[in-house]
């Protein structure tokens, strides 16, 4: 073997099938006796269901069944569980209202499922679904999270529509620090609600076998094992051994496919009732209405500084909108994954954050690319930049004065950063962005009637939530390890099974690089298998940029076991002591000699054990490993954004964007760049174009791509990217994760640039042309 595969720009193994239309997505799975489901959804945000008349629908040609909430209740199908228990400021558990798969007497958001029609064809199902008559008694809707606590409760068990009031940090110390401050910067803002919009809509196709009495569910999911665990243990009351969940090719997730959704439960349950395969694929309109949304915080944030711009304390008060029901991980996003990030890259000694999470008559809100961390970064980086401006300090200088420089660093908000070098990424970004000549560019823009602005964001991210025992003490109801299995075949090729799941990230390439590099095998000798509970031993799936750091490490642990066993076999074959065997690039060698056995020879001996220490060693070469990280990983970076605003129209163009990230060791820079491009684009989308809006009655106003604007390629500049590397100290690959960084850092950088250009303190996201025009009108 030649050069290391770690750090190589290996082309993606999966792209041939994706680019030639040979991918197999859930909707492509056609099962014998396939039937189709169409859901009847609530047109009201909040209503009592008085009567459901489905007789006419049931009598239509091809219709096999119509089920309502009553059928699920009679069958004792449980509600959807929430995976994280938050304990409130009074030591009480959060309010967990039931989350039924089909509405039980009441609907709580537009798009909630009221009934399902299953028919021989999709057209028959959809036509019949229109004939289901539902009598509603419409109730006033609670839409604005700020008004939720003073509105009538949506759920009986949650007075004031409050799920919990939660806090982190030393309030008294923070208040004392504020009392001593030379300067206080305060901002009130909304972190706008977003709709994820993966290219592939959600889809589920379930089949039941009377012969073996088991279920197979194909589903567009980011974590099939978790889906199976939640569905079997909490909802359907089935043995896990009787349910196989397959998440085949999945076309994007961004968090929205982490969760167990009602549609998945309904098609799985119905497949047994009908003894037929039942498929449902969301129409795009259904995705807008019923995928879990992201963000939606209303925040007041304050930063206390001394006269030199040193941060003394931070105080944050947030109302988080959880929507109508608790989606799988919704409760931990605005708490555990938010408040813990408020130290950012700085030595702020004391921080206090209080979060009130409320129920409203809107779609459930859960993790969306970044999940809590973009919201935290927005708080920190908007405060820091605003403080610098108010104190007439250079925003770069104020950051330098407060950077963490000693590692490990224990923050006042629970996390302990293992490593980092924030100066290094900032210095590189300043140079790459040519900040020194910004004023020249500003003058040039002014000549063309354009306002140019410069903004920074220095973000910190916490990836690979861990360790499980700490997460458990914070309320996690699941482990946060990952599993991997390495199966060496008799001829020395390798199949690797990972509990991580790829839905665009390129695991089949990145993980194969790790394996091929570690074993010294060609890439072609390594296959990565994921996404099938009947093949992969276990898994916690992919979210929170955890795949390489946690899933990759589990594989490395299994590889180490393979090499260790291989050494024993090689020692026997070479008639040497095991201690003398070295493994290097595909060869087991006796140290200091030219005696060696190739990896394939050792594998062959393991499966054809004619000359093998059978008295001491089992045959075969197959190992698995579970890895539970000892800490989060902490990617960080510095972003510099330049915008140009049209004075006449308010339209903003991102003129330049520089991102210098520290993801630790990088396996495949090409794939990492792709991840950063996507993340930055979504971050720019949040800042400039994307904003989910409901009207006062709870109708979704941005329910299609005609009104909800996700950025196109032409809306973003050619990104200038670079990396700096401080390897993670607690995993063997030194990796940190890169999937969410762009979406975390970009919004603050863009908004800092816009407020700089306009000379205003704040402007709401998304900063659409009209929003900016209004701000300019107000100033004029």
């Amino acid at each position: 073997m030649g050069a290391s595969l770690i750090g190589a720009r290996v082309e993606r193994k999966e792209d041939y099938r994706f680019l030639t239309g040979s991918g197999q997505y859930t909707d492509d799975v056609a099962l014998p006796g396939q039937t189709y489901a169409a859901f009847v959804r609530s047109p009201h945000a909040h209503a009592v269901i008085k009567k459901i008349d489905f007789q006419k629908a049931k009598n239509q040609e091809g219709v096999l069944a119509v089920y309502t909430g009553a059928d699920l209740a009679n069958a004792k199908v449980g509600g959807l569980p929430c995976g994280w228990l938050i304990t409130d400021v009074n030591g009480q558990p959060m309010k967990e209202p039931p989350y039924p798969s089909l509405a039980q007497g009441k609907v709580r958001h537009v798009g909630e499922r009221v009934a399902v029609v299953i028919a021989e064809t999709l057209a028959q199902a959809r036509d019949a679904a229109e004939l289901v008559q539902v009598d509603y008694e419409v109730l006033p809707a609670v839409v604005d999270p700020k008004k939720a606590s003073s509105s009538k409760p949506i759920h009986d068990i949650a007075p004031n529509n409050t799920c919990y009031v939660w806090a982190l940090g030393d309030k008294a110390a923070v208040d004392a620090a504020f009392a001593q401050a030379a300067h206080v910067t305060k901002l009130d803002f909304v972190n706008n609600r977003l709709i994820p919009n993966a290219i592939e809509p959600r889809s589920a196709n379930a089949v039941y076998s009377r012969a073996s009495q088991d279920y197979t569910l194909y589903v567009a999911s980011q974590n099939p094992h978790v889906e199976r665990l939640l569905m079997t243990a909490f909802v359907l009351g089935l043995p896990e051994s009787k349910v196989r969940v397959v998440a085949p090719d999945v076309g994007g997730g961004f968090g929205s496919k982490i969760y167990l959704y009602p549609e998945d439960v309904v098609v799985t349950w119905a497949s047994k009732q009908l003894n037929r395969a039942v498929k449902w694929t969301a129409e795009r309109s259904e995705s807008f209405l019923s995928d879990a949304h992201g963000r939606d915080h209303v925040t007041t944030a304050e930063l206390a500084l001394d006269k030199d711009g040193k941060f003394l304390a931070m105080r944050v008060k947030t109302t988080a909108n959880l929507g109508a029901y608790l989606s799988t991980f919704s409760s931990c996003i605005p708490t555990i994954l938010y408040a813990t990030l408020l130290a950012g890259q700085y030595t702020t000694p004391v921080i206090y954050c209080e979060v009130t999470s409320v129920f409203t008559n809107t779609a459930p809100v859960d993790a969306y690319r970044g999940a809590g961390r973009p919201e935290a970064t927005y708080v920190v980086e908007r405060l820091v930049e605003t403080a610098a401006r108010e104190m007439k300090l250079d925003p770069v200088e104020i950051r330098r004065r407060n950077f963490i420089r000693q590692f490990p660093y224990q923050t006042p908000v629970a996390l302990c950063y293992d490593t980092g070098n924030y100066e290094a990424t900032l210095d590189a970004a300043l140079k790459m962005a040519d900040v020194g000549n910004f004023n020249k560019r500003k003058e040039e823009s002014a000549k063309r009637g354009k306002l140019r602005g410069l903004g920074y964001a220095c973000y910190i991210e916490a990836c690979g939530i861990a360790p499980s025992n700490v997460a458990g003490s914070l309320g996690a109801r699941a482990g946060l390890f990952e599993a991997g299995e390495v199966r060496v075949h008799p001829t020395g090729t390798v199949t690797v099974f990972t509990g991580s799941h790829a839905h665009g990230q390129g695991h089949e390439t990145t993980f194969a690089q790790v394996v091929a590099d570690r074993l010294g095998l060609p890439m072609e000798a390594v296959e990565i298998v994921h996404g099938d509970t009947s093949k992969v031993l276990f898994g916690m799936g992919t979210y929170g940029s955890r795949s390489i750091a946690v899933g990759g490490t589990a594989i490395v642990k299994a590889l180490d076991k393979i090499v260790a066993k291989g050494k024993k076999i090689a020692a026997h074959l070479l008639e040497a002591s095991e201690a003398d065997i070295e493994y290097d690039r595909g060869e087991f060698r006796v140290a200091g000699t030219d005696k060696k056995k190739m990896f394939g020879e050792v594998a062959f001996a393991a499966y054809v054990p004619h000359n093998y220490p059978l008295d001491k060693l089992e045959p075969g070469l197959n190992e698995n490993a579970f890895y539970d990280p000892t800490n989060f990983t902490f990617p960080a970076g510095s972003y510099v954004c330049e915008v140009e605003i049209d004075r006449d129209t308010g339209a903003t163009r991102v003129a330049a964007f520089t991102a210098v990230d520290d993801f630790g060791k990088i396996i495949n820079p090409m794939i990492v760049e792709g991840q950063v491009h996507g993340g930055l684009t979504q971050g720019i989308g949040q800042a400039l174009t994307e904003g989910c809006q409901y009207d006062d009655s709870g109708q979704l106003l941005t329910g299609s791509f005609a009104d909800y604007c996700i950025p196109r390629a032409g809306d973003v500049p050619q990104f200038q990217l670079d990396t700096r590397e401080t390897p993670c100290t607690h995993n063997p690959l030194g990796v940190k994760g890169c999937g969410e960084a762009g979406a975390i850092g970009a919004p603050a950088a863009v908004m800092n640039a816009i407020t700089d250009a306009l000379g205003v303190k704040d402007i709401p996201m998304p900063a659409t042309a009209q929003t900016i025009w209004r701000s300019m009108q107000k100033a004029a």
Binding site: S285, F705, D707, W773
Partner: protein, 265 residues
Amino acid sequence: MYAFQYHRPTSSKDAVSLIGKKPEGKYLAGGQSLVQAMKLRLSSPSDLIDLGSVKELSGIKVSAAAVEIGAMTRHAEVAASAEVNKAIPALAALVGMIGDRQVRHMGTLGGSLANNDPAADYPAAVLGLGATVAAGKRKIEADKFFKGLYETALEPGELITSVSFPVPKRAAYMKFKNPASRFAIVGVFVADFGGKVRVAVTGAGPCAFRQADMEKALAAKFAPESVAGIKVKPDGLNNDLHASPEYRAHLITVMAKRAVEAALK
């Protein structure tokens, strides 16, 4: 989508005759609005009379005085036409801004005009150039064609066959796009016929309309400053998520000024 009968006539005579027998039927041109509405179950025609095989409805004829475009001519063809680009570059440019590449390869002039979406681009050119819409033998002046929100002068079953655009001395179209849909939030088409000036606005009202005060000012002096100071009244202008009437009114002035600048270049 609901079930419908599909027809594919090869002459406009057959098409018109078919629709006469199908009062709940609709012509299918490029299908870029109708098919979406059908997929969303917002439209349920009993019959679709596909005009895709009616060859006589497609094509571009350019003379010194006018550009005549067949109703079924796809946007991409108009945008790429060397003759249109030479005769009325502003028209080719406008068509090149419609929707996206896929839309432009399916969408047609006749379909766009018959639909009369308030934010469509083509009506600005038709009205701005004072074009004549031919529906068979009947000729309808642009000023009489656009009647209101999705409303035109077409009679039930009447079929647009072509549109004749007079060649101006100079013209330009400026569009402020809805970032999501890429339709016009405000689009302004300015055409100077040598002393006679037409200014047509799309996206801002229930349908395209002319801006008389700007026409007068530009007829006196065809220069950006003639319109820069004209404040448009927001009354009656569209109000949606993306733009208030006040913002649209402001954008009309900005886009008109820029269109004049572009026309003079």
